[in-house]
């Protein structure tokens, strides 16, 4: 049996660089939640099927439960805590509140981040583009219509 050595990694999360000594088998989700105490990304299915663990990697949504923390070294990680400023919500978060797009809230960080990645690239998406972008995120409260409405409202056309 090979003894797994801890690995020193530099993680850039929400613009801040963290130097961490982590076991190589830890996923980015585990490091974010347990080492950096950023608990916005959640573990739900734990196999990449639901999207509650979504974070942005260089601006693109990925599953942090399927990504080894070491694989995120040298990339820009954005979690839900990196959106908005102290005391002020990000416009997408405000739209989610205004349109009642949050029910139990478990899927919300993933939905908001996925919507941010979409709107950064496509400021005026069609309903179909919004649905396609969110097609990897599951809301078990089934509040999809409100979520699509909120993303539409946060788009350039909705403002």
């Amino acid at each position: 049996m090979v003894k797994a050595e801890k690995k020193k990694i530099n993680l850039r999360v929400n613009g801040e660089v963290h130097t961490l000594l982590v076991a190589p088998h830890l996923t980015l989700l585990e490091v974010l939640r347990e080492e950096l105490h950023l608990t916005g990304a959640k573990e739900s299915c734990g196999r990449g099927a639901c999207g509650t663990c979504t974070v942005l990697l260089d601006g693109e949504p990925v599953r942090s439960c399927l990504l080894l923390a070491a694989e995120a070294e040298g990339r820009q990680v954005t979690t839900i805590e990196g959106l908005g400023r102290q005391g002020a919500l990000h416009p997408i978060q405000e739209a989610f509140v205004a349109h009642h797009a949050v029910q139990c809230g478990f899927c919300t960080p993933g939905m908001v981040l996925t919507a941010k990645a979409l709107l950064d690239k496509t400021p005026d998406p069609t309903d179909e583009e919004i649905r396609l972008a969110l097609s990897g995120n599951i809301c078990r409260c089934t509040g999809y219509a409100k979520i699509v409405e909120a993303v539409k409202a946060a788009s350039d056309k909705g403002k």
Binding site: G46, R47, G48, G51, L66, L68, A70, N137
Partner: protein
């Protein structure tokens, strides 16, 4: 659940990667995008003392059009494949198969090489260790029983990759390297058609490139997939079709390939008889699609009934053939 412990290796070049694999032969798992292997590690379906990441190897990324061929490096993400104008312009079936794989966040991570070399799946196998241990070990786990088909003596787990049928239909080749040597094989030949060990790739080999020859005359291709949701689902049945025309405007090559209909993608050999030698407008796509019934080997091991999947394999083949015929007609053939 935590992943099992391992030593993490991250070579910077293909050469270093091959040396690493050779040095730890049989003890290294390769992580490209991670979307498949990390799940299998978590479910304790695989384990190894070493995990080698390909993320730092820039040679394994990118799409290039060379003289007469399209080269897709194995570490290219499915998002890049789906978004590439070169891929969609030359081989729409590949774009279609990449863009309907899983969901956008998965495609941002998953690679074409990883997608191709994924393991076969079964409702009774791709489960947690706790679930699997509640029943006798199945054939794929080295046991003697099949949980899906009573009395089966060989594993019938199903290959559910989306890219492979499209690549095989388009006559793609795979470049496999190991320390000191390299071989190029048809993509069809990397599948053993055995559910227990579905890939005919040696444990010290690394898939580095996919090479697709660009036909000189007019041709067309299409991919169709049966799924319940527009996102996330593996195919329950799928089909890819490729057709090319001779100088006289008759079909001279036809390849119809089924996915998710057995332990490997299946070439529907008999379909060609209803297509080759005819003009696209006179081809019998329906009869060609019906040939899928003979080679489709589905059993009750995914979330839809085998009888339905078998019927739908014909429907998917018919749609893919119809779309490919339509493209040829549209091209003025």
């Amino acid at each position: 659940m935590r992943l099992p412990s391992f030593q993490y290796l991250s070579p910077g070049t293909v050469k270093e990667a091959l040396e690493t694999i050779a040095a730890h032969k049989g003890k290294v798992l390769i992580v490209a995008g991670g979307t498949d292997i990390v799940n299998r590690l978590r479910q304790r379906l695989v384990s190894a003392p070493y995990v080698m990441s390909l993320k730092a190897i820039s040679e394994l990324k990118g799409i290039k059009k060379n003289k007469g061929e399209l080269v897709i490096s194995a570490g290219t993400t499915l998002r890049e494949v789906a978004a590439s104008p070169e891929v969609s312009g030359l081989f729409p079936a590949l774009s279609q198969s990449a863009s309907c794989t899983a969901a956008p966040p998965i495609r941002n991570m998953a690679t074409i090489g990883g997608n191709l070399l994924q393991d076969t799946r079964c409702l009774f196998y791709n489960q947690s260790e706790l679930f699997r241990k509640a029943a006798p070990a199945c054939l794929k786990q080295g046991g003697r029983v099949c949980a899906a088909v009573k009395g089966a003596t060989r594993c019938l787990s199903v290959y559910q990759g989306d890219l492979a049928p499209a690549l095989i239909a388009c006559n793609a080749k795979a470049v496999l390297k190991k320390a000191g040597s390299s071989r190029t094989v048809q993509v069809a030949d990397i599948f053993s058609n055995k559910g227990k060990r579905p890939l005919a790739v040696e444990e010290d080999e690394l898939l580095t490139r996919i090479v697709i020859p660009i036909p000189s005359g007019p041709y067309s291709c299409a991919y169709e997939k049966l799924r319940l949701r527009k996102g996330l689902d593996y195919p329950f049945a799928s089909a890819a079709a490729f057709l090319s025309l001779s100088a006289k405007g008759v079909i001279d090559r036809a390849r119809v390939v089924l996915g998710a209909c057995g332990p490997a993608p299946v070439l529907v050999e008999d379909a060609a008889a209803f297509l080759v030698g005819r003009k696209p407008g006179d081809a019998d796509g329906l009869s060609a699609a019906r040939c899928a019934l003979k080679v489709c080997r589905v059993v009750e091991n995914v979330a839809l009934p085998a009888s339905y999947r078998k019927k739908m394999a014909v429907v998917m083949a018919g749609r893919a053939i119809g779309e490919a015929l339509g493209q040829l007609s549209g091209a003025g053939a």
